[in-house]
Symmetry: C2
Subunit: 440 residues, 2 copies
């Protein structure tokens, strides 16, 4: 692959780890491109037409079954019967908005809040994580009087205008506005062994730069497992110093739990839980309804009041009874099937299996993560440099071995290992075997 | 009601026509406020707990059945069995994102596009009308190089940061940014009998003001039935001159069809269809999935390309197969049950009935609309001034007569008549009777 092509490929991977179709001429792909146009983001150069899915498995039109390690939305398992039943029952009975009281909505909110720090006792329900982060940024501005946001350098927080400005990985051209500063993720490469101190110093440098610009900081916003940056989970607790630093400057900490939330990290229900911190706001989305479009923001009542004094906020679909039923079923399944514990145990098994591969193959430069959220760095054997070409080959090779997986990180050279939380031990083993096969 | 209270009441009505609970002590209300906090927007001072809904009717916990003339989301009827069946079937089979090809998604997009002008051949699916308008504004900026938006003075286009700035009715404090200019809606009060010319002149004055400010215009964005402004539908075609004016300035016309779309106006499938114009972009939402959270933007491929050159846009839940199944069922029901025709015919009956009331009662100052989207101005008998106090009394009086209805307009003195499209003649008659009763 030429340098230009490789660079383009990296760019495509960074563009949310997706590929546009290249040399495939399938009618279905043409049809999709005619419908979605330039906004079409199909996975793989030869995209897959899917017809059904169950548990950790997706089935293509040609009958091929794929083990899904890519899509972290159907987190309790594709087509989970309890979620299906809850949605089907509620949508047949009542689907309306929060201008009326509907008990299932408050039942859900109370069940959700039972997992939250007591201080975050208000929840605003939205349709997407993007809407939740858009709102959280505005609440932070209203609560602090500031406008400055600190994010990590390959962060992705969503697709609205405001949130895109705080999502370096979404920008193909142009630069961040002066109100947003991107700092390196909390990795050994950037901070050496003192991850906590290094990340705190990055936050402090950004605060100093805001001071130089005459901008009051509003918040540090971070995905607490840094998924788009390449997954940085350890050591637990490292976020605490940075959170202290941002608060010392009068600004807030927004925990974007869209990726790590709902038990995925195994150790805790939320990613921030691993760090012993209480965020000022928590945003959540993707796995919240196992695919039913829903998201939300947990917030301190006084902060929400400050925002609502200026703006009338209402979300037509947010907090509808069907979403609440889906969300309640997800919480029930996580509890009843012990999915957080399974994420911890099966995740540990998977991590160990991948580390075995790393010990035998120098191209597997690092394996790290928490629970069922693992990052695998792929590098050139001789130089140790991130290898996006190899990453693409491994992704394609795993596809041909029936495993779906994507990439992340600044160089697009980190496999983002993110299966449903119901993953079985034998499925984890199957993944490791496919990985070995794709590397060979 | 004191002047201060009346003014506060108007403010509350303008805040999306909703009331906070006042003197009710119901436990359910306390619970809701504890959960949603300052963002809670409950309808009526004594809010209603709903348990089920079907067709045009909602049933409260105490057994009271209400005729729903307020909620235009379940547009083909609450709990419509074909939508319920489509969602229940698809969610049990496959719910994933648009990185994979799933035929129901393209089936839906093609069915939707069959209702669109040929030029708008790309559709971006989102979760909410807010996300669709947020995206449309950015596409307009990318396509024109401009940043200026013209909206109407009580417009509401959604809840994201960018769209809120273009939604005068959402602002409780502060003012619009210099990139947004609000113009009067196309009403007789503002334009005399020459609605088309008056509205065009307002657009031209806003363009002149942008020139003075050194701002390049990006778009005129208008709900083509001006629902938040008080519902202005006639004469059909009046938008054409304003659209010509905005295009002459190198800017675009965004038709926000979240309210009037999907057959509601009776005369046409989209509100803009009544005006003989082809928008540069069409945004849609609320009734699109009959309550399933989904929305979208139809756009010219070249405009979308210009936007996507700068920003990687992806919407996790947008265009998921369950939304597509819901949306397809909605389109099928509108066609098979002749709901656009019913909106036209039952709407005409309702309009006539309301005009009969107006002829007999000077407080009913004006009745206007198209199909099943009708505005009813309530005014002081002596002065003819908009009467928000009377409007609140009528809304409460109709509630006690089993009819749900809200208000809109700059003064909060316009009843927003917006029942499901499946409304029966006898239900329209029942509404007129309840209105008469509430006035007496």
């Amino acid at each position: 692959m030429s340098r230009a092509t490789a660079s383009g490929q990296v760019r495509q991977i960074l563009d949310m780890n997706a590929f546009r179709p290249g040399d495939t001429d399938a009618e279905a792909v043409e049809r999709r491109l005619a419908n979605l146009g330039a906004a079409s983001v199909l996975f793989y150069r030869e995209p897959i037409e899917m017809v059904s899915a169950e548990g950790a498995w997706m089935t293509a039109k040609d009958g091929t079954r794929y083990l899904d390690f890519y899509n972290n939305v159907p987190s309790v398992g594709h087509s989970h019967p309890r979620v299906v039943e809850a949605v089907s029952r509620q949508i047949a009975q009542l689907n309306t908005n929060t201008r009326y009281i509907v008990s299932v909505v408050d039942d859900y909110l109370e069940a959700l809040k039972a997992h939250m720090p007591d201080s975050l006792s208000n929840v605003v329900m939205t349709c997407s994580g993007s809407e939740a982060n858009d709102l959280a940024m505005r609440v932070a501005m209203a609560a602090t009087g500031g406008t400055g946001f600190i994010v990590t350098e390959t962060a992705y927080h969503g697709n609205t205008a405001l949130v895109t400005e705080a999502s370096p990985s979404a920008l193909k051209r142009g630069s961040l506005p002066e109100t947003v500063i991107a700092i390196p993720p909390p990795s050994v490469q950037h901070s050496g062994e003192d991850i906590a101190g290094g990340f705190r110093r990055s936050v402090e440098m950004a605060l100093a730069e805001f001071a130089r610009r005459g901008i009051t900081p509003a918040a540090l916003m971070a995905d607490s497992i840094f998924s788009s940056d390449g997954i940085f989970a350890d050591p637990p607790g490292f976020l605490s110093e940075a959170v202290d630093a941002i608060r010392a400057a009068g600004a807030l900490f927004i925990a974007d739990e869209v990726q790590p939330g709902f038990g995925r990290t195994g150790d805790a229900f939320w990613g921030f839980g691993r760090h012993g911190i209480t965020p000022d706001m928590v945003t959540m989305g993707k796995p919240m309804g196992n695919g039913f479009p829903m998201a939300g923001m947990a917030v301190r009542p006084d902060h929400l009041e400050q925002f609502c004094a200026d703006v009338g906020y209402f979300n037509t679909f947010g907090g509808n009874p069907v979403a609440a039923a889906a969300g309640k079923a997800v919480l029930d399944v996580i509890r009843d099937e012990g999915l957080q514990e399974n994420a911890r145990d099966t995740g540990a098994l998977l991590l160990e299996g991948l580390r075995d591969v790393a010990r035998a193959d120098a191209r597997v430069a690092d394996v790290r993560g928490a629970g069922l959220f693992i990052g695998v760095d792929l590098a050139e054997e001789e130089t140790g440099r991130p290898d996006p070409d190899l990453t693409v080959k491994v992704i394609d090779g795993m596809r041909s071995r029936g495993v779906l997986i994507g990439a992340a990180g600044r160089y697009g050279a980190t496999l983002k290992v993110r299966p449903p939380l119901c993953l079985k031990r034998e499925e984890a083993e199957q993944f490791v075997e496919a990985f070995k096969g794709a590397l060979s």
